[in-house]
């Protein structure tokens, strides 16, 4: 417990001035000081004991970035004195607590609430580092301060801005599945129904046995398989720390991963997620279809880029362990020449042998702006350098395509849709 002074204590000290003028002795000074200190101490000890104030926190557990959440601090005063309390709830600044300090009067044996509003400015985990309660004396000259034990945690979730693209993709999915309108002769193996032959149908799909029973020619239709497995591997190494526009590359990568998770959940596929750099540090495995999106959002909320290289051999081992043959593997990592040096290509080649593989990359939109520069000689040189970098990216993505991967390379605001469309295209082609 600490005792501290209020500005009023200094004002009270001025009351000693007439005494000092009347008896200008040095011992008068000393006596006045002792008297002043005694008064301040007495006031401090007449304050309600802050250590015995009971605190309960009702704070939100998680909130989506960009929204606000409200919570409460409940202060109970079990002492027999009126509590003139000042409370500081020391959250980190980006937790967006509207007012960290508040003053409240809690009468003896009563309880009061302090309302709190959080508007986080940063994705991830926020916490209250300290909760301090200071109690002012009845004369307001001094206060006693004590820390209170009330853990506060708030998880700011990824905003998932790409969820507005979900309805249109689900619509496409329904078309592919044939639940909505069109039954098509897909290459899936799951038998769906029989229908009459129309011009344009593949003759190989004619069900001769059924045709023999009826007078018209009948074809079988299949629908794409459900309950397939999708493994999303997000690279959180140094390349994901790039700032593209407002947010980092990792944020855009999670946006894409979330849209794919939601879409695959709608398609009835199981989704697992793996965040990997030098170690596999976050994973969402074996969630049910209804819960997977929530689990992925919660798991990715606190993941930040790290300035390390990704160990792709480790990633390959993790993928081999967690996927069975034929499941879709999505590597979310930038397609860049620097990635080639980390040994991604041979690993991708190995994965692509056993699985359909999609390499999803978030491109830097600034590169395109640089490449369009024409004004003066400096911007032309920049354009040349940017074109060179783009050519290298094209070369790298072609190398991936050569080993059998599908490459999606798009700017942050297009990457989620592009990945979802690739997934749908794979579904439609019966590759999944």
């Amino acid at each position: 417990m600490r005792i501290s002074l209020t500005p009023r204590a200094a004002l009270v000290a001025l009351l000693a001035l007439p005494v000092i003028v009347l008896w200008p002795r040095w011992w008068t000074l000393l006596a006045m000081f002792v008297l002043w200190a005694l008064v301040v101490l007495v006031d401090a000890f007449r304050a309600a004991n802050p250590a015995s104030i009971r605190v309960r926190r009702e704070s939100p557990v998680q909130v989506r970035l960009g929204r606000s959440a409200t919570g409460r601090l409940l202060l109970t005063n079990p002492t027999s004195r009126l509590g003139r309390l000042e409370v500081r709830d020391a959250w980190n600044p980006t937790a967006g607590l509207a007012a960290q300090r508040s003053t409240v009067l809690v009468p003896s044996l009563e309880r009061r609430a302090i309302a709190q509003t959080f508007t986080p400015a940063r994705r991830g985990e926020h916490s209250s580092r300290a909760l301090l309660i200071s109690s002012r004396g009845p004369w307001g000259l001094a206060r006693r301060t004590a820390p209170a034990d009330a853990q506060g945690r708030l998880l700011a979730l990824h905003p998932f801005g790409s969820r507005r693209h979900l309805p249109s993709r689900v619509q496409r999915l329904r078309e592919i599945e044939g639940l909505a309108a069109v039954h098509q002769r897909g290459q899936g193996t799951e038998f769906d129904s029989l229908r009459d032959f129309v011009d344009g149908d593949d003759v190989r799909s004619i069900d001769w046995r059924a045709t023999a029973r009826r007078r018209s020619v009948v074809v079988r239709t299949w629908r794409p398989e459900r309950d397939r497995h999708v493994l999303i591997v997000v690279d959180t190494s140094r390349t994901s720390a790039s700032r593209l526009g407002e947010s980092t590359r990792l944020d855009a990568a999670f946006d894409a991963a979330l849209l794919l998770t939601a879409l695959a959940g709608q398609a009835g596929d199981r989704v697992d997620l793996l965040c990997i750099d030098r170690i596999a540090h976050v994973s969402v495995l074996g969630s049910t279809r209804t819960k997977v999106l929530h689990d992925v959002v919660a798991a990715t909320a606190a993941v930040d880029p790290a300035l390390v290289e990704t160990d792709w051999e480790l990633a390959a081992a993790a993928i081999a362990e967690r996927s069975r043959r034929g499941s879709l593997v999505v590597l979310v990592t930038p397609v860049e020449a620097s990635v080639m040096h980390t040994g991604l290509l041979p690993v991708a080649a190995r994965i692509a042998k056993d699985h359909p593989l999609v390499v999803a990359s978030v491109a830097d939109p600034a590169l395109e702006q640089l490449a369009a520069g024409r004004g003066d000689i400096e911007s032309v040189y920049r354009a040349a350098a940017a074109e060179r970098a783009r050519a290298e990216r094209t070369g790298v993505s072609r190398a991936f395509e050569r080993v059998g991967a599908h490459v999606v390379d798009a700017a942050p605001d297009h990457a989620p849709q592009a990945l979802a469309d690739t997934y749908l295209a794979l579904k439609a082609a019966g590759r999944l």
Binding site: S4, A9, R129, I377, E378, G395
Partner: protein, 416 residues
């Protein structure tokens, strides 16, 4: 985070666009940079350096030269008009031992030791200093020469002599019969009147045993008493004034008669100069404790206001990296190396790739194929296209900018 150069992966960067040529033709850098860039600055720099060195040297020399003397009215070392170097040098030439004092205590000691003491500015002396001098003058055998003293100094040092008026016009004065040896053989003294070093000259009247000399209407310019001479004007001693009339005769004889002279210039740093009376003694006795208490209150207020309520909270911000650094760095490198051909190659191959995609050609198709496919769609001749897209050298920066714009125009034409 952009891509570094990729020399080891030609297969990955396959296609004609990745092949870079580096035939850089030398030429001047970009026009906007030329103004502040090296050649002009390097030519100008030696002159600047020489100028700066000369200026610094001159300043140092001037300060050293100024350091040889102290300038001021009647300063014995000052060669300026108001100084007295001429008199001092002539006196030393006459084998007079001249010593410079700045403190009253030293001057009084010299006076007791029997030396002649010249007080250049008696008006600047406090009563304590005057009393010390008067005491020494009474005790010792030394002579005292006062330059234009005021009433206070006269009252303390020479009660027989009083100030009777001033002489505000330039005039020549001759010694009267009452002078005796006080005139020191000077037949005419010249004083400048109002324009003098200390304004008008002072005139003195003598009574009792004292005498005055070189009389004007209201009194004499020079007065003398027992072992004491009063000079009515500082201009008799200055470098400017000593040569006028017979000033030099009066001054040199008066000062050099004993062969030992103390040139006393009163200074502000004299320990006797301050009278020991300061404002603090006028304060009431409770002021000290009161001030201390106010100080204590201020400290209390600062402690109270500076209280930090709880810890400083540190924000764990995630790391971010600027992704375009490598691209920008490469651009700067190209520009500094004037690698116009390399830059042109990247721009051309990028355009060629996009055009080939749009026209449905294979990526690896050669320049000829591209030109042939383009020719029906644009207004340009195949030769022009070949110059635009082929590896034609780029002579200067303007052509590079023009090439980039031409490539843009070509792409837009195909888009239509």
């Amino acid at each position: 985070m952009s891509t570094p150069p990729l020399p080891s992966a030609p297969a990955a960067t396959g296609g004609p666009e990745a092949a870079s040529t580096a035939g850089a033709a030398a030429s001047s850098p970009s026009p906007d940079r030329a103004a502040g860039s090296s050649p002009q600055t390097e030519q100008r720099r030696p002159w600047l350096t020489v100028l700066v060195v000369l200026a610094v040297l001159g300043a140092v020399l001037a300060s050293v030269a100024r350091g040889y003397y102290r300038d001021g009215p009647l300063e014995p070392d000052a060669p300026t008009g108001q100084g007295s170097k001429a008199v001092v040098q002539v006196l030393e030439g006459l084998s007079v031992d001249v010593e410079v004092d700045r403190h009253t205590a030293d001057a009084a000691a010299d006076l007791r030791a029997g030396r002649t003491v010249l007080v250049t500015d008696p008006r600047g002396l406090s009563s304590t200093q005057l009393a010390a001098l008067a005491e020494a003058h009474e005790q010792g055998p030394g002579r005292l020469v006062l330059v234009q003293p005021d009433d206070e100094a006269l009252y303390a040092l020479a009660p027989d002599i009083t100030r009777s008026g001033s002489l505000s016009t330039a005039s020549d004065l001759s010694p009267g019969p009452e002078c005796g040896d006080l005139s020191q053989g000077a037949r005419t003294l010249h004083v400048p009147g109002e324009d003098g070093l200390r304004g008008s000259s002072s005139l003195y009247r003598a009574s009792g045993e004292a005498r005055s000399c070189f009389a004007a209407e209201k009194g004499g310019l020079v007065a003398g008493a027992d072992r004491l001479v009063v000079l009515g004007s500082a201009d008799l001693l200055t470098n400017d004034g000593v040569a006028n009339g017979d000033n030099s005769a009066l001054v040199l004889n008066t000062l050099g008669v004993d062969g030992e002279l103390t040139w006393y210039v009163p200074s502000a740093g004299d320990p006797l100069g301050s009278d020991g009376q300061d404002l603090l003694t006028y304060l009431p006795d409770w002021a000290g404790p009161l001030l201390l208490w106010l100080l204590l209150t201020a400290v209390i207020a600062v402690i109270a206001v500076a209280r930090r309520f709880g810890p400083v909270v540190v924000e764990p911000l995630p790391v971010t990296v600027r992704p375009q650094e490598i691209v920008l760095g490469r651009a700067r490198l190209l520009q500094q190396a004037d690698a116009r051909d390399a830059a042109a190659t990247s721009l051309r191959s990028a355009t060629a790739t996009r055009l080939a995609d749009r026209l449905g050609l294979r990526r690896e198709s050669a320049l000829d194929g591209l030109v042939m496919a383009l020719a029906p769609h644009v207004d340009r001749s195949p030769e022009q296209l070949r110059t635009l897209l082929g590896p034609t050298p780029v002579p200067d920066d303007q052509s590079l900018v023009r090439l980039a714009q031409d490539l843009d125009v070509l792409e837009k034409e195909i888009d239509r």
